[in-house]
Each structure stands twice: as structure tokens, then as C-alpha cells.
């Protein structure tokens, strides 16, 4: 079995899982959501195997270029979603989270992403690579889940205003979004900012250089700090909170993706 076969299997399983979850969302039969979860878990298992194979073949962490890190972010998003679903019963969000995952995997598989295993340049030869990148991407995966539940909130709230009763209710989605941010924010702080500073100090000789990627991580952090303060201290809830969470994920996405293609800087790897 080689990596690309297993990766393809994971991709197909995710598509099937998304189909089941979406069927659940529109038809409300518990069996469909269960099938979605089983397929998503199977996809996650295959995806984990693909990441392990990649690690064994390359001899380094499976997130050193765009293809690898997109794949890892997709993997982490599925894992984050499954954790949140088990805890908060948000099966209705499954289809949409998996659509985001499918988009990430499709982007990773697209021909514009070089998939060759390349040996690590000296700056990346460090165990901090494992810690910094994996924890940051796992934090961002939780932001992705919060992004989906926040978008669903906006829609549910609109339906409620029209007198309909969406399920899950907007209140439930609001609560889940907050709980998901509450998991993602400490992880992102630790992985993206703290461990990033530690590694930068070791590799570049300076813990902070105002490199565009650093600045955008800080912007992302500020947006979620705004989310937490408006919510916990000023009691903002619902729509305004949801919009901040959506902007926060977009900032995270730009940090991760946009900076590489639109702004030049030290972080030229991924």
C-alpha cells in the first residue's frame, strides 16, 4: 500500500461521510448521522495511515510543505469535529465540517501542490517542527469547526426570526461555537505563538521578527481575544459573537495560506 492510495481512500470515505451527514441534516434520521460518523472515523483512520506512511517514507514530520500541511489540517479538522460531536451532539454540523475537509484535501491533491518528498532544509531540522506545527494546526482545526457552527448559527437565527424551529437551535450552536473556540484558543496560543517564539529564538536568533506570518498569527490571536472579551465580559452573544468567530477563522486561514502566496517573509516553507 502506498501513501497516495490510502490518501485517496480517506478522501472517498470523507465524501461518503459528508453525504450521510448532509442526508441526516435534511432528513433527520439518526441512522444517517451514525453512518456519517462511522465513515468519517474510517476516513480518519485511513488518513492517519497515510500520514504515518508519509512520515516513514520521508523520515520527517508530515507537515513540511503545503501539500503535507493541508493534509494534516484536514486530518486535524476531522479529529476535532469527532471530539466535539461526541461531546456536544452536533451531528447536524458534520456535513459542513466535512465539506471544508473535502475542500482542503482536494486542494492538497490538486496538481499545483508539489507532492514530492524533499529533504528538510537546515532550518526545519528540529523537533520544534513537530510541536509548533502540529499544535498550531490542531488549534486551527478547532477554529474551523467553530467557523462552521458559527455559520450555522447565522442561518439558524434567521430561520428562528421567521418563526421556524431549526435543529440544532441557534442557542445550542452559539454554545458549541464558544466551547470549540475555548479548546482552539489555548492550543493556538501554545502552538502558534509560544512554541513559534521558542523555535524562532533557536533557529533565527530572535523570538519575534514581525515577519508577516508572525503578525498574522498575532492578528488571529487578537480576533479571538476580542471574541472572548466581548462574550465573557461584555455579554455579547449570538450574531455578533458568531461574526467574530467567522472572521477569526478567516484570519487563521490567511495566516496559514494567504501569507505564503501573497506576502513574502521568513516562513517560506508552509
Amino acid at each position: 500500500m502506498n501513501e497516495s492510495t490510502v490518501f485517496l481512500a480517506a478522501f472517498i470515505l470523507y465524501i461518503l461521510a459528508a453525504a450521510c451527514y448532509l442526508a441526516y441534516h435534511f432528513g433527520r434520521q439518526a441512522g444517517r448521522a451514525r453512518a456519517g460518523l462511522v465513515l468519517a472515523a474510517a476516513g480518519l483512520t485511513a488518513h492517519s495511515a497515510a500520514l504515518v506512511l508519509r512520515t516513514v517514507q520521508s523520515g520527517h514530520a508530515p507537515f513540511t510543505n503545503m501539500y503535507e500541511s493541508l493534509s494534516f489540517l484536514a486530518w486535524a479538522s476531522v479529529a476535532a469535529y469527532i471530539v466535539m460531536e461526541r461531546r456536544f451532539r452536533i451531528q447536524a454540523a458534520g456535513g459542513y465540517v466535512l465539506l471544508v475537509v473535502i475542500a482542503l484535501v482536494a486542494l492538497a491533491s490538486s496538481p499545483v501542490m508539489p507532492k514530492d518528498i524533499t529533504p528538510l532544509v537546515p532550518a526545519l531540522q528540529s523537533y520544534w517542527l513537530w510541536l509548533h506545527v502540529s499544535i498550531t494546526l490542531i488549534g486551527e482545526a478547532f477554529f474551523a469547526v467553530a467557523f462552521v457552527t458559527s455559520l450555522m448559527f447565522v442561518r439558524a437565527e434567521r430561520l428562528e426570526r421567521l418563526g421556524r424551529k431549526p435543529s440544532p437551535s441557534s442557542a445550542a450552536l452559539d454554545a458549541v461555537s464558544y466551547r470549540t473556540v475555548a479548546v482552539g484558543f489555548p492550543l493556538f496560543t501554545l502552538g502558534g505563538l509560544v512554541l513559534g517564539m521558542v523555535w524562532a529564538f533557536k533557529a533565527w536568533g530572535s523570538y519575534w521578527s514581525w515577519d508577516p506570518k508572525e503578525v498574522w498569527s498575532l492578528i488571529t490571536w487578537f480576533v479571538f481575544a476580542l471574541y472572548l472579551h466581548t462574550r465573557l465580559v461584555m455579554g455579547w452573544k449570538g450574531r455578533r459573537s458568531a461574526i467574530i468567530a467567522i472572521l477569526g477563522f478567516l484570519a487563521a486561514l490567511f495566516t496559514y495560506f494567504g501569507v505564503n502566496y501573497l506576502l513574502a517573509g521568513l516562513h517560506s516553507y508552509a
Binding site: P122, W128, T189, V194, F201, Y207, V215
Partner: protein, 456 residues
């Protein structure tokens, strides 16, 4: 007096508002975004070329160096003042509550809370109190009691540290800012260019380093595997120790850190391999190794001189020869063959274009010279830096991570109970509070009540 204290209290009120924090965070976000959209740290002509007349405005507003501008620092300091006042003004109340909590409370006030309930138990208050102690102790609540003839009060708490999570994060942010300012003001950064066998003093560090060997390792399939500088640290003229410096593996010594930062070739003093030929005599070939400015002897009393060397030959303005860069993209040497006072040959030899014997004039020359190879001594670039602020940054990082953990995953829980004797029974009224995660706490609260109800 009222004027002055009014001014002070207004300032404190202004600085203690969370709204100010929100506004400052939004401004910092906008400023940071602008700083990544406008290129930072260019020279004025570069800005003029890119932005035209706008460039003057950009520079006057310090938008060309946002993160080092005074107004950005002012925003950060205002945020720091805001955080300090906000945290302190809430901290004293929190502290009193944590250390010297009041126990007395009216049962009605407890029942007004969301998480509340009451239980009636047979038997005297003392028995119920024992049951309450057991049940709460089993769930690791620390308890305080105030037993009175008519009423008894119990305050049970756990994870009290959770109240202080956000304060710890805020303290961490202040320490980060302090660390950053200290780094900017007291830190230093110098770059040392070292050829093998040469040494240089690390500025203000009180020791020297000598480069023993610089090595570039390649992967079998190409690509850089490692840059390694093997250096000897020299203290007071004596060799102290030898260490290898690699990317990700700096050398730490006496508060200084030496990083593998770059490398290059010293094109001022390359060794040139020159082949001298005679068009009239195909058998004539003389190979010589010469440095710029030096001479080498040729047969018949002739000598070969290298007048000049440029790594990246170009004819610049005023038809003058210049080097476009310090990279060996188009290496060329101006060479002459002389015999006594006569110059027999003079012309440029190009490594890339051996047949291009340009530059000489007159009839068919007696010699031709080819530039076969160039060996420039390689140097390593070591960054020597001292950053006294870094320790504060690590301390702050610990505060922030621990604070976030406490704030989100160590929610303080508090249960207050009032026990009263009523017609030979005991009435227990209870109310609970938590700093976060209400649902699991509600669950625990209901379990406590029901086990008090059952355990008769």
C-alpha cells in the same frame, strides 16, 4: 482637591473599561494588517518609485515601519495600562472573595440563583451537617463552616485557582511587553564574517571566536543538508573550547548566542587559474594560479599580471566596467602579459565565454589568456546576539499558558449551604456558582442534592 481627584478618578475609570480594551484590540488589528500590506523598512527612493506622491505621507505617518513606530508603541502601552488597571480593580475583590469569604447568606438569596435547590432531612442539624461534610468532602470540596444556634452556614469550594486564570494571562501579557521593550533597548545583534583560520572579537562579549572549518553538507539528491561552522572560543588569548554551530544549534556563551546565519565567498581575493596560449604556436600552453594584483612568471622573461577581477562583469554607466553583484555570475579578469616595459597582451578573460577575447586592440595579439577556474575563500556569517528580554518572554509564556489552562479547564466551583432546624427536621438550602462550564457543574450539584436527600 475635588478637581484633581476628579481627574484621577476619571482617568482610572477610563483605563478600567473593557470597552477601551476592545477599541485598542481593534486598532492593533488594523495597524498590524496595514503593516503587512505596506512593505516595511524600504529606503525612501524605493517608496517613491512604488507609491509616488503618497510615499511622503506614508513615511510621515510611520506606516513604513509600523511595528517600530511611536504610535504603535503608544497603543501597546495604553493597552498595558488598560490591562493593569482592569486586572487590579477586579483582583482585590476576587482576592477577598477567595481568601476571606463571607459565610452568612439568606436562603432566599441562594434560591434566586440558577443553580439552587433545597432538601428536607429528618433529624437534627448536626446529623445533616455531618452528611453534608461527607458528601462534599468525597467530591474534594474544601469547606468552611459557621455553626450558629439557629442556622449553620457551609461554604464549599474547589479549583479556586480557576478564578485567577485570566489575571495570570494578563500578567503574562504585561511581562511579554516588558520583555519586548527590554530586548529592543538592551539587546544587541552583530554579524561576524569569518574565513577559515581567521578570528574575530564578539563585540562587547569579552571573547573571540576563530573559525576552524566551514562546511556545507548536501543531500545525495541535492539540496542543503547542513551548514556547520566549527569554531574555537578564545578567551584572553587562550583557546577555551571548540564547538560546532549549526542552524537550530546555536552556541551559548556568557549571555551571548552565536547562530549560523549565512555564508558567502570573498571575491576580493580569489585565486584564478589562467591558461596562457600563443595563437602562433599551438604547442604553447602555460597554466598559472594568480591572485588579483599579483604576477606569475612565464617563459622567455615574460610575466602574467592580473590587473583586476570582477565576479559579475557588466559595462555600466560611462562605459566603465563594474560588478553587478557579489555573486560569481559572470566572472572576468583583466590580464596582461608583459616583458620588461612592453605590454605584449592586455585584455579581459571571461570564465563563461572563453572565446570572447574582447578588449584588446591592434593587430593579431601574440598571446591569448583563458580564465579556467576561480577559487574564492568561503566565509561563514555568524550572528552574535544578546537578548536579555528573552527570559522574560519565556516566563510570560508560562504565565499565559498556565493562565489559559486555568481559565478554560479549571473552572472554580462554589457551593453555599444554609442548614436550619424546622419542626424536628433539617432544611438544607443550597446554591452553586462556577466560573465556567455550567452544565457539568449543574449535573454535579444535582447529584449532591439527591445524595443528601437519599442518605437519610
Amino acid at each position: 482637591m475635588s478637581d484633581r481627584s476628579g481627574w484621577v478618578s476619571r482617568t482610572i475609570k477610563f483605563l478600567s473599561s473593557v470597552r477601551l480594551a476592545i477599541v485598542l484590540i481593534i486598532l492593533l488589528i488594523l495597524a498590524s494588517v496595514v503593516g503587512t500590506l505596506i512593505p516595511q523598512g524600504w529606503t525612501p527612493p524605493e517608496y517613491a518609485a512604488r507609491f509616488g506622491r503618497m510615499s511622503g505621507v506614508l513615511m510621515r505617518l510611520q506606516l513604513t515601519g509600523v511595528y517600530h513606530s511611536l504610535w504603535f508603541l503608544a497603543l501597546l502601552l495604553l493597552l498595558a495600562a488598560n490591562i493593569t488597571v482592569c486586572t487590579l480593580s477586579r483582583l482585590s475583590a476576587k482576592w477577598t472573595k477567595a481568601v476571606k469569604p463571607g459565610l452568612d447568606i439568606e436562603p432566599a438569596a441562594l434560591l434566586a440563583g440558577k443553580t439552587s435547590g433545597s432538601v428536607k432531612k429528618p433529624g437534627p442539624v448536626a446529623d445533616s451537617l455531618a452528611a453534608v461534610r461527607r458528601e462534599l468532602g468525597r467530591r474534594r470540596y474544601r469547606q468552611r463552616e459557621s455553626v450558629r444556634p439557629d442556622r449553620s452556614f457551609v461554604l464549599a469550594r474547589k479549583r479556586t485557582l480557576g478564578y485567577f486564570g485570566s489575571d495570570l494571562v494578563h500578567l503574562g501579557l504585561l511581562v511579554i511587553l516588558a520583555g519586548g521593550i527590554l530586548s529592543a533597548r538592551a539587546g544587541s545583534r552583530e554579524y561576524l564574517k569569518l574565513e577559515e583560520g581567521r578570528s574575530a572579537a564578539v563585540p562587547a562579549a569579552g571573547f573571540d571566536v576563530r573559525l576552524e572549518r566551514f562546511q556545507t553538507e548536501l543531500y545525495p539528491q541535492g539540496g542543503i543538508k547542513a551548514w556547520t561552522s566549527r569554531v574555537t572560543v578564545v578567551e584572553e588569548g587562550r583557546d577555551a573550547f571548540i564547538r560546532e554551530i549549526k542552524v537550530n544549534h546555536p552556541l551559548s556563551h556568557r549571555g551571548f548566542r552565536l547562530y549560523q546565519s549565512g555564508y558567502g565567498w570573498n571575491w576580493d581575493q580569489p585565486v584564478l587559474e589562467l591558461w596562457v596560449k600563443k595563437p602562433s604556436d599551438p604547442a604553447f600552453l602555460e597554466k598559472r594560479l594568480v591572485r588579483p594584483g599579483e604576477k606569475a612568471a612565464l617563459p622567455d622573461g615574460c610575466e602574467l599580471c592580473v590587473e583586476r577581477f570582477v565576479p559579475d562583469f557588466i559595462i555600466g554607466r560611462d562605459r566603465q566596467v563594474e560588478s553587478r553583484s557579489d555573486e560569481p555570475r559572470n566572472p572576468a579578469a583583466l590580464v596582461q602579459v608583459r616583458k620588461g616595459p612592453d605590454t605584449l597582451f592586455s585584455g579581459w578573460a571571461f570564465a563563461r565565454y572563453p572565446d570572447f577575447g574582447g578588449g584588446h586592440s591592434g593587430p593579431e595579439p601574440a598571446f591569448s589568456v583563458e580564465l579556467k577556474d576561480i577559487q574564492a575563500p568561503q566565509y561563514t556569517i555568524l550572528e552574535a546576539s544578546r537578548d536579555p528580554g528573552a527570559r522574560l518572554i519565556w516566563l510570560a509564556s508560562v504565565f499565559i499558558c498556565a493562565g489559559l489552562f486555568l481559565a478554560f479547564y479549571w473552572p472554580a466551583r462554589e457551593i453555599r449551604l444554609v442548614l436550619e432546624a424546622r419542626h424536628g427536621k433539617t432544611e438544607i438550602t443550597a446554591g452553586g456558582m462556577t466560573s465556567k462550564s455550567r452544565e457539568p457543574f449543574d449535573l454535579e450539584f444535582q447529584e449532591i442534592l439527591s445524595s443528601l436527600r437519599k442518605g437519610a
